[in-house]
Assembly symmetry: C2
Homo-oligomer: 742 residues x 2
């Protein structure tokens, strides 16, 4: 904030020799805003309330504290009842608005009528009662404090106290003191890091803004460390597992560090709206040196390719361990997965969702433009919009006290840096209910999310004079399907209906009108209806296959039609950005009245394979054409997902805690060329931390087999997951389920 670079005094103030930097807070605020949970202010062991004669005051007759026990071991009552026993963390971790117990041993029996003591919770620099960073809790609940304390049990010198935190208290790490009030002043325990307490959001408490009244949903969206993320294409959905690892050692501290690094005021950290919004900014590195650097280029030389990660743990540990050096590289699912870890770790219910055919970069305008030239061929120079094959974001669950009733529940947050989201690289929380109903006037970033699921694809024909005429409007392409993992099993859950009313319904029409009233612009002109239809038929393609692309043309008129077609096939990044053209043909198709006809075009393996592998891409085919007789333009578009080879993952050995087990990863290069600089990763949440192995070369048709030993750390069903990655082949995954017994 401060440190001016001193130098010679300038001649005149109008032309300073040194450009000024940010000045100190002096004069601006009484104290800097506390914005770091890792700062601390040590409280004195004795705080006099009066002028004292020299020497220590005679405190022997007053209560003294011998020991404080936070009852914090995983199997003990606090962590069990607060659903925090899975955290690999020696500290006490409890949730808001729910009682936890502490045992205080005094030097003598506690006399309620005479003795006054308090348990003090403090956070950050200059803790203050009115900022919620200093909270004294007294043993009788009657005191003025939003936190509640009571003596539950007294036995000899030991008092068991129950404490209930405020339902909106700051989430993070507090220091704990026990203080005794004497007539001379306050005597308190010495600062002891072992007495630190983490307080988290509490989806189990109706008083907490993140209350989620469904035990199975909570188990999935707060407690589940293992996730499934959907990708691929709408009609050929692929999936991969992800280790969120929110309970792994160091992850909770990393999440708090992220907020510290973003200088988030402590006072804001009790509000899930503000916490999730801040994290949506901090999970990407733009603006604020956040966690993950985005890279969609195909060149990942200076970091880990986005497709190579198998979980969030490594990423968050690397970021926190380096005190906030951004980690490379991410694409949308990596942002969403790490964001999901952050949210679940702090106790905000969350899930990763995938929107198929997601409109982007269109700034709340409800159209994506594809420009054709006068002949009906795609004008690549002028078509700058792209539709993402899929896009992953997060939903988190919370009440929205800042909005009118009805907009709580699931909220979209998105950490993938968008170029146009209100000038900053963050997005949300935007109420899913508000998006469904077109109430895009409420914060945050609702018009942007609305456009992601509701834009029209508009084909324009550009005349030689430069004017554009809309020739086809496809309003069902974008936001075709929204998927998330099912609750407590690995199936898919289609949640499209939470975002949209049925296509073509009257309600949908009204929702679109409402969004337009709030400034979402769409193409108003309706395109002329052509009497010829074209369609590209779907199919499954194995990577490396030569295959037929099938066009189906139908003449609805009672006259002959001749259609001059342009069919182009392009390797596209998953962002829809074209990389290389692999097919271009211009068939002319003659159709008898009312005839329907198939036209086959061969797509050769050698034409697309190398180009496809480089960009972990898919093939996008666009067929356009002009009907000779009428001048009408016909269009069709289809994304063909290509199925990658997979890894084989097997485990062997005795599936018991601390016993020796083995994992074997096998892969065979199916191609006629060598794979070079191949990295294989394998990890098993709760059973094996991440292992990486590099192969300099895997020859054509060659196989690799890699076996690692591991010892499961805990019981339960989990997965062993592996990825394989090299410049010529990405997005190769494998996994197997493992159940560990006691």
């Amino acid at each position: 904030m401060t440190d001016q670079e001193a130098s010679n005094t300038p001649e005149a103030p109008a032309a300073p020799a040194v450009r000024p930097r940010q000045a100190s807070h002096r004069g601006r605020t009484v104290a800097p805003v506390a914005s770091s949970n890792s700062d601390e202010e040590k409280f004195p062991e004795f705080e006099p309330t009066m002028l004292l004669p020299r020497g220590p005051p005679p405190l022997t007759e007053y209560l003294d504290i011998w020991d404080v026990d936070l009852i914090k071991r995983p199997h003990e009552v606090n962590k069990q009842q607060h659903h925090t026993s899975l955290y690999s963390c020696d500290y006490l971790i409890v949730r808001r608005a729910q009682e936890f117990k502490i045992k205080i041993t005094f030097n003598r029996a506690y006399k309620p009528a005479e003795d006054k003591f308090a348990v003090e919770f403090v956070m950050g620099a200059s803790p203050q009662y009115s900022k919620g960073t200093y909270i004294p809790v007294f043993p009788s609940g009657e005191r003025r404090s939003t936190w509640h304390g009571q003596v539950l049990e007294t036995s000899d010198n030991v008092v068991t106290m129950g404490i209930i935190t405020a339902p909106d208290c700051i989430v993070g790490k507090y220091g704990v003191y026990v203080a005794v009030v004497t007539p001379y002043g306050i005597r308190r325990t010495r600062r002891d890091p072992n007495l630190d307490v983490y307080i988290l959001f509490n989806p189990w408490s109706p008083a907490d803004a993140v209350f989620l009244n469904d035990e199975e949903e909570r188990e999935e969206c707060v407690m589940n460390e293992l996730g499934v993320i959907y990708h691929g294409s709408y009609d050929d959905v692929a999936e991969r597992s992800w280790n969120y690892g929110q309970f792994e050692f160091g992850i909770l501290d990393a999440c708090l560090f992220i907020m510290d690094k973003g200088a988030m005021p402590l006072t804001d950290r009790g509000d899930p709206v503000k916490v999730s919004r801040k994290a949506s900014a901090m999970v990407n590195s733009r603006d604020d040196e956040g966690v993950l650097v985005g890279n969609w280029s195909g060149d990942y030389m200076y970091g880990v390719p986005p497709t190579s990660w198998t979980g969030s743990v490594e990423i968050l540990r690397d970021y926190a361990g380096s005190r906030g050096q951004s980690v490379g590289y991410a694409q949308c699912w990596v942002y969403a997965a790490v964001f999901n870890t952050f949210l679940r770790c702090l106790g905000i219910p969350s899930r990763v969702v995938t929107n198929f055919f997601s409109a982007h970069d269109n700034n709340g305008n409800l159209k994506m433009d594809i420009i054709l030239d006068e002949k009906g061929r795609v004008d690549r120079d002028r078509t700058k919009d792209s539709i993402w094959n899929y896009h992953c974001w997060n939903e988190c669950f919370m009440a929205r006290a800042d909005l009118p009733d009805g907009f709580g529940g699931w909220q979209v947050v998105d950490a993938t840096p968008q170029e146009t989201s209100d000038g900053m690289y963050r997005c949300g929380p935007a109420s899913v209910a508000a998006i469904k109903h077109g109430h895009v006037c409420y914060p945050f970033d609702a018009p942007f999310v609305f456009a992601e699921v509701n834009s029209d694809v508009v084909f324009y024909c550009r005349s030689n004079e430069g004017t554009l005429q809309p020739v086809k409007v496809n309003s069902s392409h974008v936001g075709r399907m929204v998927l998330t993992k099912a609750v407590l099993h690995d199936g898919r859950r289609d949640i499209t209906e939470f975002y949209k009313f049925p296509e073509g319904s009257e309600t949908e029409r009204r929702v679109m009108e409402r969004a337009e009233q709030f400034g979402c612009q769409r193409e108003k002109a309706s395109a002329p209806q052509a009497d010829v239809d074209v369609e590209i038929l779907g199919q499954e393609v194995q990577l490396g296959d030569t295959f037929d692309l099938v066009l189906q043309l139908t003449n609805h008129s009672v006259q002959r039609r001749v259609v001059d077609m342009h069919v182009s096939g392009t390797v596209v990044f998953y962002t829809g950005v074209p990389s290389a053209e692999v097919l271009f043909q211009t068939p002319t198709v003659k159709l008898e009245p009312q005839q329907s006809k198939k036209e086959k075009l061969v797509v050769r393996s050698e034409a697309y394979l190398k180009k496809l592998l480089e960009v972990q891409g898919n093939l996008n085919f666009i067929a356009t054409g002009k009907v000779k007789e009428t001048g009408q333009i016909v269009t069709a578009m289809r994304l063909v997902a290509v199925n990658n080879p997979t890894l084989t993952v097997k485990v062997s050995g005795s599936p018991r805690v601390d016993e020796e087990m083995y994992v074997t990863v096998e892969f065979t290069n199916p191609f006629k060329f060598s794979l070079e600089e191949v990295y294989v990763r394998v990890e098993g949440p709760g059973i094996m931390s991440i292992q990486t192995k590099k192969y300099s070369i895997i020859g054509p048709g060659s196989s690799i087999t890699w076996t690692e030993r591991f010892s499961p750390r805990r019981v339960g069903t989990t997965k062993m997951m592996a990825s394989l990655d090299c410049a010529a082949l990405r997005q190769v995954y494998g996994e197997t389920e493992v159940t560990i017994q006691e």
Copy 2:
């Protein structure tokens, strides 16, 4: 965005040797988002639409363009009708949704039936029709284009064309081409910077979102270059003049540069909501290397003290001239004044307003805490909140298409960096109507602005055990008055009623309840009513005077009362932050039943003078006390504004354009100490650009006289304004009105 720092290839991808930086847009988007108005793409002079044989096509038979006249001189029709003739700028400047004329001379007479031509407007890199950065306008309005063109007149080879831009088109600088369509392709004029056109917002057009249907308001809030900014204290308002200078040479370009520097997407620049929001972030240097560095410290060594500026021109020219090096230093009125220049320059109606007793840094919570100890004395260590004596922000006028009906009109925007406004240093636009009615759920930052005018001041008494008890709630102190300059004359206009319903009214209570429902938190407890009142009486104090502070105590009870008072006087920055205590007394006051009594305390000149001058401060007195008989706490607070000496400014000579005139600035040091390193600035909008003079020393009682020659550049009534500034004395101003004749 790109440039990875290349170096040795890392051993394993998990530990990259070089931390990755932002990658390119490759794969992410088809093209980078156009976000600079200064980028340009040259259009070719001939653009073939067909494969051509070698050699130039035979174009001689088609229309050729000999000359294009934009009719852009200040006295000509375009600038006159578009209210842009005052801009010191050779280019054509017009406003949206209003016809302007251009004359095109062809090689022969234009034949409407055969000849096809268009006037093309282009902006930025990769101009696109669908992004609004490429607009061809055809001479007959029937073409598909949101801009309208028609031939108004034809005379020989000259065609006069009228063009009306779309009411929501991008505001900024467009390149203009004239293109003729031939069967071989498009022939167009060569890129000519002289044909550039600036298109601005249009408050005169009902179709524009910034339409303001009041000619006098428009004259004031768009056309007036001279402003008055209020400061001081609620009951002793001070004022100073400011040269907004929105028409001065280079300012319009500087405003466009600010948006370029902030990489604002061109497509957003037609929306006044987005433009004003972006500028609220860019006018301060935080986050984004914006225009002004804030400094409240009193140490302005490496820049210009905030109190020294007399206008915005110097600041904006310095920023744009250095290609975006932030300029030091600003406090709230400097931010507001420069922001005002930006808004008026682009055509968004705007005004600077001053809120007296403005709550800050409280994150939408409706209370500012003052902590007293058990004896009723202010606990300075624990009182971290401060109320600004005043705070300046801007209002700008626009429709809010993004919100439900009723929230258009004046909008608060604030460029002063707030620590807690949604994690970024920007604020607004927040609808003033929404604030008045407590509808703080609408974007942007309404809860923050609501708190600035509506917070309670809560006095807490802190027990020795650490608990806080509210003892007095003052709900009328904050947001006491909101002032802005009157329309077309120099008087004040009280606009408090646009922000708040009358204090204590039923409507006010409902508004507060509504804001609380949206999460604005306030102190719920009502403090016990004391039967003794204390008040500090107001008075005017001349800087350097020794004066009496008068307390008035009233005993409402029928018993005797003894009150132990603590009266402290502190020099405070205008942000309310205390600097030095200059008075501390603890009178004990005995009151007979129902007696009212005055208690006088002497405040000595030598005790406060030096400390006050250093921080351009005021004196804040807090009187607190405890009634012996009842234990009740009484409190009172008063800010005493101290009147600074002023400068004398005189002009002489013949008040005519281009004639010689003189300005004389006089000042006498009224103090018993020397003033060192004194800077004097003087400027006269439209008559003299800024002049600075430095005096190394001005002895006690010494006078300076400085005369400068100038030649008025234009007719009209304006002001000559001067400021004097040194470390020991700030905020000394003087001005005189000057009327220049033809």
